[in-house]
């Protein structure tokens, strides 16, 4: 197994224009409320991959787990040909199904809590979904950060960030749409990495880490807002001042 490159580091190492391009990827097309989106996996894929995931705690994210899963689901070993990406398919299956499962959890959130609290609760819920396989998550991260799978990995991370913000009720549609998603993606990815080393009971240290990072993010964002307001106020004051001196602007 190669050295693990934390996803957020990969993300931040990209030059800024590429980074925003990666965030773009979380854009899907128009979301309709009148029709359910088609399921992401076929019934066969679903059966094999969910069975394979059950073998991850013992076999890790490996082809063995995949083969075992196929057998459990009643398919021949050769059916693993369905998954040319091999063990990575199990990782992706976990990411996609857990992201989609967040919607069910979101309805249980208290409506009175603010967006940041909701984001934290949702992100924490998602992190806890890694619990059963957390000992093997570094293997998953290694697979995720290989050059071949990197585009899929970053897209999945961006989709998760978008999902968290949407479910938390964020309605920001200014340029902050991009910065919010980029910041949350980086925070989530670093919390996920932190969790793989966390020995505390119930992952309370990860919980604290996440809270701290989100608060820091909030502070930076608040600070940026203030700078924007200050610049606007100065410009407005200047225009008013000149106007009062009879300058026609």
């Amino acid at each position: 197994m190669g050295p693990t490159r934390p996803l957020h580091a990969v993300f931040l190492r990209h030059p800024a224009p590429l980074r925003s391009n990666l965030v773009w990827q979380c854009s899907r097309s128009y979301h309709s409320y009148e029709h359910e989106a088609p399921p992401p996996f076929t019934p066969t894929e679903d059966a094999i991959l969910s069975a394979a995931l059950a073998h991850v705690p013992t076999h890790g994210f490996t082809n063995t787990a995949l083969t075992q899963g196929a057998r459990d689901a009643g398919y021949l070993d050769v059916s693993t040909n369905l998954f040319p990406a091999g063990a990575f398919s199990i990782v992706k299956y976990h990411l996609v199904t857990q992201r989609l499962a967040l919607a069910r959890h979101a309805s249980s959130l208290q409506s009175q809590s603010d967006i940041t609290t909701k984001i934290r609760k949702l992100a924490l819920h998602r992190l806890h979904a890694n619990e059963p396989i957390v000992h093997h998550w570094q293997e998953a991260l290694a697979l995720l950060s290989t050059a071949r799978h990197l585009p899929t990995s970053l897209r999945e991370l961006a989709l998760l960030s978008d999902e968290l913000l949407f479910l938390a009720g964020s309605t920001t549609v200014t340029s902050a749409w991009y910065t919010n998603r980029a910041a949350l993606a980086a925070i989530y990815a670093s919390a996920e990495l932190f969790m793989t080393q966390d020995k505390s009971k119930g992952f309370t240290e990860t919980e604290k880490f996440l809270k701290r990072r989100l608060e820091e993010g909030e502070k930076i964002r608040g600070g940026l807002d203030m700078v924007g307001k200050w610049v606007g106020m100065q410009a407005g004051g200047l225009v008013d001042g000149l106007r009062s001196k009879g300058v026609w602007i």
Partner: protein, 257 residues
């Protein structure tokens, strides 16, 4: 001269023959887009009287089967709603920056400027809500459009009433035509669904009526601007051409990035 030709050649090639680098930088540039033709419109505040108004637009309930919007249709909505939001952002900023110099010189225009501004603010908030609800990303050019629209409003405001009105006329001609094109395409979908005996969903039905209303308001702005001397602006032709091609360019870019 030769550089310009080479640059254009490169640009055309880059656009029409996807290169891996460009595809990675700007994926949406190289994805073949459905070409939409927007017919230009003449000044008139009435909606075209040839516009069909299918009966299914008025009947909210039916137990006909309903087909999901296709990927192409959803991509179309994604693109146009993003452009609409950017356009309304620009409109509110143009009026905001024109109002002060214009109403100082022409106090009788205060109520008109205020009326047009508040309608634009209403449009802007309508599209903001739609983007959030339907999970559509805003244009990545957001800060740039803000700056450009503010500068345009401020500049034409300083040039005087006629220039400000010429600006409104030019912008509304493009925007009105843009909305008109959308209404026409959506009505095409509605007709197709009706012909196949499918139920037209509430979402499409509502969108058509919202777009029609907003288009009619834009066309009113156009008429009011012409009434307030837009055509007397000097240099009218120049302003009209520059602002209209600016709008076209902005629409083209916002559809993609």
């Amino acid at each position: 001269m030769r550089t310009a030709v080479t640059a254009r050649l490169f640009f055309n090639q880059a656009l029409h023959r996807p290169t891996p680098i460009l595809e990675f930088l700007l994926p949406s540039f190289t994805v073949p887009q459905t070409r939409i033709h927007y017919a230009s419109i003449t000044t008139s505040s009435s909606s075209p009287n040839t516009e069909p108004s299918p009966s299914s637009l008025e009947s909210p309930t039916s137990n006909k089967r309903r087909k999901p919007l296709s990927k192409t249709q959803r991509d179309f909505l994604d693109r146009v709603l993003r452009v609409n939001q950017a356009g309304e952002l620009a409109a509110t900023l143009i009026y905001t920056h024109q109002t002060s110099p214009i109403t100082r010189a022409h106090p009788h225009l205060r109520s008109l400027m205020h009326h047009m501004y508040s309608q634009e603010a209403g449009h802007f908030s309508t599209f903001n809500q739609m983007l959030a609800k339907h999970r559509i990303r805003p244009t990545a050019m957001y800060p740039i459009w803000s700056a450009a629209a503010s500068a345009l409003g401020w500049g034409t405001g300083l040039m005087g009433r006629e220039a400000a009105m010429a600006c409104t006329e030019a912008v509304e001609t493009e925007i009105g035509g843009h909305y008109n094109g959308q209404v026409r395409i959506l009505l095409g979908w509605v007709k197709e669904m009706e012909d196949k005996g499918e139920e037209v969903g509430e979402e499409v039905r509502e969108l058509v009526s919202t777009l029609k209303r907003i288009r009619d308001e834009e066309l009113e702005h156009l008429d009011e601007a012409v009434g307030e001397g837009a055509r007397e602006a000097k240099p009218y032709e120049f302003l009209n051409r520059v602002i209209r091609s600016g709008c076209k360019g902005a629409i083209w870019i916002s559809e993609r990035v």
